[in-house]
């Protein structure tokens, strides 16, 4: 299974598949093929719960094709718990910035035609 498909299968379960470098221990999203720090190719799978806090976000009102029916919606960058990693994704049900202060707790909950789906916890 391709790295993208593996990541998708985990996201559908509300999890995030990551890759830990077997040489230096640096953690990456699982689409990495070589270590960012040491260039090594050996990784072990680490499955995260996909929880974190909102690092930044936007509420999109002019949407790309396929997303018109969801507007307004948020595109969120989530700072994952206990790691330097961030993950971005789609969050529905957000209409004003007051609905989603930076730092709001959130979690990956799925993957569908909206890409990685993140919901408030």
């Amino acid at each position: 299974m391709s790295v993208e498909k593996q990541l998708i299968e985990h996201a559908k379960q509300g999890k995030l598949l990551t890759h830990k470098c077997t040489d230096c221990g640096h953690l990456h999203l699982s689409t990495a093929y070589y270590c960012l720090k040491c260039g090594s190719k050996g990784f072990e799978d680490v499955i995260l719960e996909g929880t974190g806090s909102v690092a930044t976000f936007t509420i999109i009102t002019v949407a790309p094709a396929g997303f018109e029916k969801y507007t307004p919606y948020a595109f969120v960058i989530l700072q994952l718990d206990n790691t330097h990693l961030r993950i971005s994704g789609f969050m529905g049900g957000i209409t004003t910035p007051a609905d989603l202060p930076v730092g709001t707790r959130a979690k990956i909950t799925g993957f569908d035609d909206r890409g990685i789906v993140i919901e408030k916890q």
């Binding site: 993208e4 999203l29 689409t31 690092a55 930044t56 976000f57 936007t58 509420i59 999109i60 009102t61 002019v62 949407a63 790309p64 094709a65 396929g66 997303f67 018109e68 969801y70 919606y73 595109f75 960058i77 990693l85 961030r86 993950i87 971005s88 994704g89 789609f90 004003t96 910035p97 930076v102 909206r114 890409g115 990685i116």
Partner: protein, 387 residues
């Protein structure tokens, strides 16, 4: 690194930017011919072409190079097309620069072009999102305004800045664009106009965003020997740098800085033997108001978090401390994405050869161009000096 040849820009020309009725092949040729005439050369002097374009498919013409060369009467000369999203123009210029500097060619044409306005806002919003790291960003509904809005939200959170401050960038660039007859949007606007314009992706509003534009820009690049023998005005390329950043915003250490700009700037300043203080004016990649603020910090004109203060104090206006985007920038001049990086060099050529009219930066000797692709995943910077 030893360069065989000093490299000069000998001529420059652009179509008007905006909604253009002519085909992509037509406007590519129009801009190239105006650069050829500006340089005072014949097409037979050109040894090869570098074309920058992203969405030629939208106007039913890819492989633009041979079409241009055929129309110029030099179909036997080689050409290639380069795509690097919104940074295509500067990267194309860089490749041409390298070839002249290395002594492979003594005279080249670099032409950037885009023709997309006939496709409408939904098509452009959708296709431009393909320039993101699509698996993580476009696929989750991120538009380009949305990605820069995410940086804007991070900037508002981290620094002492307001949405009105972003609006000041738009007001300033529209002031400059009013003095540029080739600008797409020649309209004076106020902070209130920006604040009251429809939200596209919060906190960015319509007037925080550059327009989708059609347009073509072209420059003639040559060796110093060729320029001297040809006669006429020319400017010298004294610095060239490129850099990269993680394709997706999520992969960057900071959300309020663009690493590729810093990497490219360091290389370009080093090659030119100058510091940011020596730059008289700069054409920077202001696809959104927040981008210009971040750019001016990453380029070293202002400290991190202080770019917004400089805008508030009017220090980036025409003929102030440092004139940023005297052309009107992407915001007012327009953003035909494949042409933009070349168009910035056209502006520097016009400024440094005394052809910038009312928007002339007084006593300017050194100009810088900064152009990036997508959210700054790729970047090229060039520094020019009057001769």
């Amino acid at each position: 690194m030893t360069l065989v040849e000093k490299v000069c820009v000998l001529g420059a020309g652009s179509t008007k930017y905006g909604k253009l009725p002519d085909s992509i092949a037509d406007i590519t040729t129009q801009a190239s011919v105006s650069a050829i005439e500006s340089a005072g050369i014949n097409p037979k002097d050109i040894k090869a072409s570098y074309i920058s374009n992203v969405f030629g498919v939208a106007d039913k013409q890819v492989h633009l190079g041979p079409v241009l060369m055929s129309r110029l009467g030099i179909p036997d000369k080689p050409s290639l097309t380069i795509e690097s999203a919104c940074g295509s123009g500067s990267v194309s210029f860089r490749e041409a620069y390298v070839n002249v500097a290395a002594g492979f060619y003594d005279c080249l044409v670099v032409t950037g072009v885009e023709k997309v306005t006939h496709t409408g806002t939904e098509w452009t919003t959708t296709y431009f999102a393909y320039c993101s790291d699509f698996f993580y960003e476009g696929q989750a509904g991120a538009s380009f305004p949305g990605l820069f809005a995410s940086m804007a939200r991070a900037y508002l959170t981290e620094f002492d800045a307001t949405e009105e401050d972003f609006a000041r960038v738009a007001v300033k660039n529209h002031e400059n664009g009013l003095l540029n007859p080739k600008a797409h949007i020649q309209k004076k606007i106020t902070i209130d106009d920006v604040m009251n314009s429809p939200v596209v992706a919060s906190p960015l509003k319509l007037y925080d965003c550059c327009p989708f534009s059609d347009g073509a820009s072209s420059v003639i690049l040559c060796s110093e020997k060729f320029a001297k023998e040809n006669g006429g005005d020319y400017i010298e390329v004294i610095g060239s740098g490129r850099g990269g950043s993680a394709a997706a915003l999520q992969g960057r250490e900071h959300l309020t800085t663009i690493p590729s700009t810093k990497i490219a700037a360091e290389a370009a300043y080093k090659m030119a033997g100058i510091t940011p203080k020596d730059v008289d004016f700069a054409e920077v990649h202001d696809c959104f108001t927040i981008a210009e603020i971040i750019d001016t910090e990453d380029l070293g004109f202002f400290e991190k978090g202080k770019g917004v203060e400089a805008v508030r104090e009017g220090r980036t206006r025409l003929n102030s401390d440092i004139s940023i985007n005297p052309s009107g920038g992407l915001k007012s001049k327009g953003h035909p994405i494949g042409a933009t990086g070349v168009g910035q060099i056209v502006e520097v050529f016009d400024q440094l050869t005394g052809n910038a009219g009312e928007r002339t930066v007084k006593d300017a000797k050194i100009g810088l161009t900064h152009n990036f692709g997508a959210t700054g995943a790729s970047c090229a910077i060039h520094i020019f000096q009057s001769v």
